[in-house]
């Protein structure tokens, strides 16, 4: 389509209008011209033929004619040319007479015309051109007389030669007029073409703008409907579709909001009973040694699972806060190396399972609690799913959007499978489907990602060249609230 239609709608409409106008103008002009030309010529010819006949009939002849009589007739008729002056020749036996002193145009009478009147004693004419291409009318008029009620040829034939210069000029003037009339006509045809193009192109342009605006997420975009043609029908359909789309999107959002609020409510409601249960299980844990081994084992299991449930509820509430956009940053100036060391110490990871490469005296502005959560999740995930030793590398980088803080957490495990990599930050995503029970809540990486985003940074996962997964935290060194 593109290859064959490089022209726009406007150009094509104007071209079509011009073509139609040209066809109309040319065919009208041509037909009118032909009719007018034939009318002009017919009138001149008929006038000339009947004039010659009338003039000849007015001459009384004495047969046989002598040269003097023939010359007299020719001179008489030669003066009375109509509609234009003509030259008259007469042929009678071997006699030749001409109304012109120098008979320059007698050669223009064709033998065909002579033969015609000799065989059929009737008036006849023929249009001919001289050697310069000038048109002439040649008329042959045999003289007959009535003898016993029968027309008999006298043997004399008169020829009149009349230039058709006036007719030629008239015809040329008509061609000129047709040409001069057609060009303004074509120019005028451009105006309705432009109007038609405009009336089509404007709705199309509006429609494109509206579609682009909807594509950018503005679902309340509507088009002004003008008139009642097909394009306004299209605009109406567009508006209806946009309305329906907006409605269903709104419904979906509402449903999502309800679902999130439900999760938040559930976790909130679970927190109070869980706090009680935790207190009880702690007391029971202390007394477990005094119970028989089976009961003690069961008791410890309950205690551990309750703890996990409490973590899960805490994580759920955390992620609900992110969903509700209720999470806030509490920014503080911290020493990054100090923050990392504190995180490791607090989780008792200060043995040789975790190695840290920390720059001295690097200060960053961030939320220390959230940074702690992110780092703990990344290291905990590395220890659980990857394998010791885990290496932490902290460095800074200067980019056009400012100074960036980069934290890399690499493990020594088998790495992350390619099909898992895109979903690694999804909620409750399990990399190993068989291992449904794990120490984590399944929300750790999701919460980490949300926390980093809150700082205006990104969190990405990849596999290192030498094996093992690498998580890279990339956030501004100076986070602004």
């Amino acid at each position: 389509m593109r290859k064959f239609a490089p022209l726009g709608l406007r150009t094509r409409l104007i071209a079509a209008f011009l073509l139609v106008a040209a066809i109309c103008a040319v065919s009208t002009a041509a037909l009118t011209y032909r009719q007018a030309r034939s009318a002009v010529l017919t009138q001149s010819q008929d006038t000339a033929v009947s004039t010659l006949r009338d003039q000849l009939e007015a001459q009384a002849l004495t047969l046989p004619m002598d040269r003097a009589q023939l010359q007299r007739v020719v001179n008489e008729i030669g003066k009375r040319g109509k509609p234009h002056p003509w030259t008259v020749y007469a042929e009678y036996g071997t006699l030749r007479a001409s109304s012109n002193v120098t008979p320059t145009t007698s050669g223009i009478v064709t033998d065909a015309l002579r033969a015609q009147v000799a065989d059929h004693p009737h008036g006849a004419f023929q249009r001919v051109e001289d050697e310069h291409g000038e048109p002439y009318l040649t008329i042959a008029m045999p003289a007959v007389f009535t003898h016993h009620g029968v027309r008999e040829p006298t043997g004399a034939v008169l020829y009149a030669v009349m230039p058709l210069l006036t007719e030629q000029q008239t015809v040329d003037a008509m061609v000129q007029a047709a040409r001069q009339g057609a060009i303004p006509g074509l120019a005028i045809a451009v105006v309705p073409a432009l109007l038609a193009a405009r009336s089509v192109l404007r709705p199309v342009r509006d429609l494109r703008r509206a579609a682009q605006s909807m594509g950018r997420g503005r679902l309340d975009t509507r088009i002004e409907v003008r008139g009642a043609d097909e394009l306004s029908g299209l605009a109406r359909t567009f508006n209806e579709t946009a309305g329906a789309l907006e409605e269903s999107v709104a419904e979906l959002r509402e449903a999502e909001v309800r679902a999130r609020r439900f999760a938040a409510d559930v976790s909130h409601e679970l927190r109070t009973p869980l706090a009680g249960m935790l207190a009880v299980t702690e007391v029971l844990d202390e007394d477990a040694e005094r119970l028989d081994p089976d009961t003690a084992k069961a008791l410890r299991l309950i205690s551990a699972e309750t703890g996990k449930l409490a973590v899960l509820v805490e994580d759920l509430m955390e992620i609900s806060r992110f969903d509700a956009r209720a999470a806030e940053l509490n920014l503080d100036d911290v020493d990054v190396a100090e923050a990392v060391r504190k995180t490791l110490e607090r989780r008792h990871w200060d043995d040789d399972r975790v190695g840290a490469d920390l720059p001295h005296g690097l200060r960053a502005r961030l939320d220390p609690r959230r940074f702690d959560v992110v780092l703990a999740n990344l290291v905990g995930n590395a220890l659980r799913h990857g394998g010791a030793p885990v290496r932490i590398a902290v460095r800074t980088e200067s980019r056009e959007d400012g100074e960036r803080l980069l934290v890399e957490v690499a493990d020594s495990g088998p790495g992350i499978a390619a099909e898992v990599l895109p979903h690694i930050f999804d909620r409750f995503f399990k990399a190993d489907a068989a291992r449904t029970r794990s120490a984590g809540s399944g929300l750790g990486l999701a919460i980490s990602l949300e926390n980093v985003r809150l700082h205006g940074g990104t969190l990405s996962a990849a596999n290192a060249d030498g094996g093992g997964a690498v998580f890279t935290l990339d956030m501004p060194l100076e986070t602004t609230a």
Partner: protein
């Protein structure tokens, strides 16, 4: 789609050519024509009484040309024939008219006879053999003989050798 638009363009061009072609091909200006017959010939008044005898002579191209003589007294067929057999006069010779009949001695012209055998049949006797006479000469004889009687009369020409089939004068046709 691409095919359709391409063929559509071709169709449009063909339509335009079909509509614009004929008027443009017709051309401009005044073009020569063939011979066109237009109305009757000019009927001229001839200065001769309708009963005047007419002798028919022959042009160089072989056409009969009437040569009436209003002053000639004998307006019978025999008188007309004597007028013819005298041969072209000075005016006729100036015009280039001749005769296809054999030349006769001055006195022999009186040897021609013409008489009606019925109302529409004229017998003409000439004093020379008629079998060898040119057809144009016969026409001269026939038309001259009936010039005072009218073209409806049949003429039989008879010479010393033979008598020819009766014919009519075709000068008016």
């Amino acid at each position: 789609m691409t095919l359709r638009s391409a063929s559509g363009r071709r169709t449009a061009a063909a339509v335009a050519a079909a509509l614009l072609g004929p008027p443009l091909v017709t051309g401009c200006g005044i073009k020569p024509t063939g011979v066109v017959e237009s109305g009757s010939a000019a009927r001229v008044p001839v200065a001769a009484p309708s009963r005047a005898p007419i002798a028919y002579f022959v042009t160089g191209e072989g056409r009969l040309v009437p040569s009436p003589d209003p002053d000639y007294a004998d307006n019978s067929p025999q008188g007309s024939l004597q007028l013819l057999l005298r041969g072209p006069g000075s005016v006729e010779q100036e015009v280039g008219l001749g005769t296809r009949l054999p030349p006769l001695d001055a006195g022999a012209a009186g040897g021609v006879r013409a008489f009606f055998t019925s109302e529409f049949h004229l017998q003409v006797r000439v004093p020379f053999p008629v079998a060898a006479v040119d057809p144009l000469g016969l026409k001269q004889l026939v038309c001259t003989a009936v010039s005072t009687a009218g073209p409806t009369v049949q003429v039989s020409v008879r010479g010393p050798d033979t008598e020819l089939e009766p014919t009519r004068c075709e000068a008016g046709r």
